[in-house]
Symmetry: C2
Subunit: 276 residues, 2 copies
């Protein structure tokens, strides 16, 4: 899914919602354990009940890896189940030297190699440009680079001062030179809305993936006030707040209700901004 | 394998060699393709021919992930095949918020969950302490934190100046507070031996994993001059230089010859330093 297609989906669905599939087999309704692949069954039902309200799904690779082979099977099947109108974003936070990042790119982008055909992947910046380039060699795929994360530990390094800039600002400046805004997005933690202004100065046109709304405490209103640009430029993620809205048999309906609340809020925000 | 056991193995084998299992199915001898799991068969033969010369094996997760389910099967079986006298180190460069890092820890440390029972994992520091802590909650396991990497792109951020220190020095200072040298090692790229002095000032007693000897151009002599401490304190990795010493049917014998050369050099270095 390219930038133009993503923007079209946002306008059509009046939503910039990304749903995080952090699916933990311990937390899904017990009746699903009777299915051959309970996690896949859970994801399918979540997707079936929300795909018209969101523009992206973001499985969190760790939750699948933790279950070994069975987990990878769930992840592969989930990636194939995400419908065409939604960005398939794998949250894997990979990053290594060139020949190794090239292998990670095959793992998540090259269906013939691995069974997975994601559109986008989260990447960690510490090892620099070589962590990113091999992913961009896959035509039309996206890198979603960690810039400012919503966790407490994000402060350990991301706010260190280099001259008059913070490290996260230096990461954006460098990464702006690695790819255009049609191939690169930035991860920006929503619990720090005051930083959005600084980020929008450096990356006015980029899409920002905001992971911290909901369980991590960010506010959609505040994120949107500072983060929305004239083509939207935001993907706001909610995981636990949607997929675990209920742990009973009605989980898919309750997930839809929560997704709908966010979509309706987003629809108003997009209108106010004159995007739709 | 705890610190004391690792030091005992180093003294017994007169070696601080780590062999990187960056096993690429495209690069292994063709006759192995007749085996049910060619990558596993390759790894087994490499391990069989070298385990008395090295103290650690380091599979590179990306190379396995790139092959989807088949690759994970090879990785799980490989992890189980590494003998008890060698540290089982997975090079996975993970790191995320707490609940996600906890899942990665299950993936690589908790055999019941995933089939894998590694002793140690490489972790990226950008997201701070929460990236590291969940791994340390597994008793006796190690975090091997990225500090200074041997790739060109490592310069993009790791050498940025924060006051009078470089970012990589700040990473060490912070991480020294997260765990002791019995649970934490640091990754230090060997192509920058001049930095070893600075690192040894901040981490005199830690084990350092040095990934860049061989194909990436580092010198064992120089690394050892600055990096060895009184209990050795180094794991020097070689991947391609050993496992692809020959691409013919004699690959395992040739791997042993290359490993032996390094082990013999290491034996002299350990003697000179008075460690054995």
């Amino acid at each position: 899914m390219n930038r133009q297609q993503l923007i079209e989906q946002i306008k059509k669905k009046k939503s910039f919602l990304c749903i995080g599939l952090d699916t933990d087999i311990e937390l899904i309704p017990r009746f699903l354990l009777d299915f051959p692949d309970p996690v896949l069954e859970f994801n399918k039902r979540i997707i079936d009940s929300t795909y018209d309200l969101c523009v992206a799904y973001k499985p969190n690779s760790a939750f699948y890896e933790s279950r070994g082979i069975a987990g990878w099977q769930s992840l592969i099947q989930t990636s194939q189940y995400i419908p065409a109108g939604c960005l398939r974003l794998i949250d894997a936070k990979r990053g290594d030297i060139g020949n190794t990042s090239a292998m990670y790119a095959k793992a998540f982008f090259d269906e013939k190699s691995s069974g997975m055909n994601f559109d986008a992947i989260t990447v960690a910046p510490y090892m620099g440009i070589e962590s990113v380039k091999p992913f961009l060699e896959f035509e039309g795929k996206w890198v979603v680079l960690l810039v400012l994360t919503s966790n407490e530990g994000g402060k350990d390094f991301q706010f260190l001062k280099i001259g008059d800039q913070c490290l996260f600002e230096r990461v954006i400046e460098a990464a702006n030179g690695w790819a255009g805004n049609d191939r690169m997005m930035y991860v920006v933690g929503a619990t720090r809305s005051e930083e959005f202004k600084a980020i929008r100065k450096l990356a006015p046109d980029h899409f920002l993936l905001v992971p911290g709304v909901g369980a991590q405490g960010g506010s959609l209103q505040e994120v949107s006030r500072y983060g929305l640009n004239k083509e939207c430029g935001l993907l706001v993620n909610s995981s636990r707040g949607i997929i675990y809205a209920s742990k009973e048999n009605d989980f898919a309906e309750r997930a839809r209700e929560e997704a709908l609340k966010l979509q309706q809020e987003m629809s108003i925000l997009l209108e106010e901004k004159g995007i739709i």
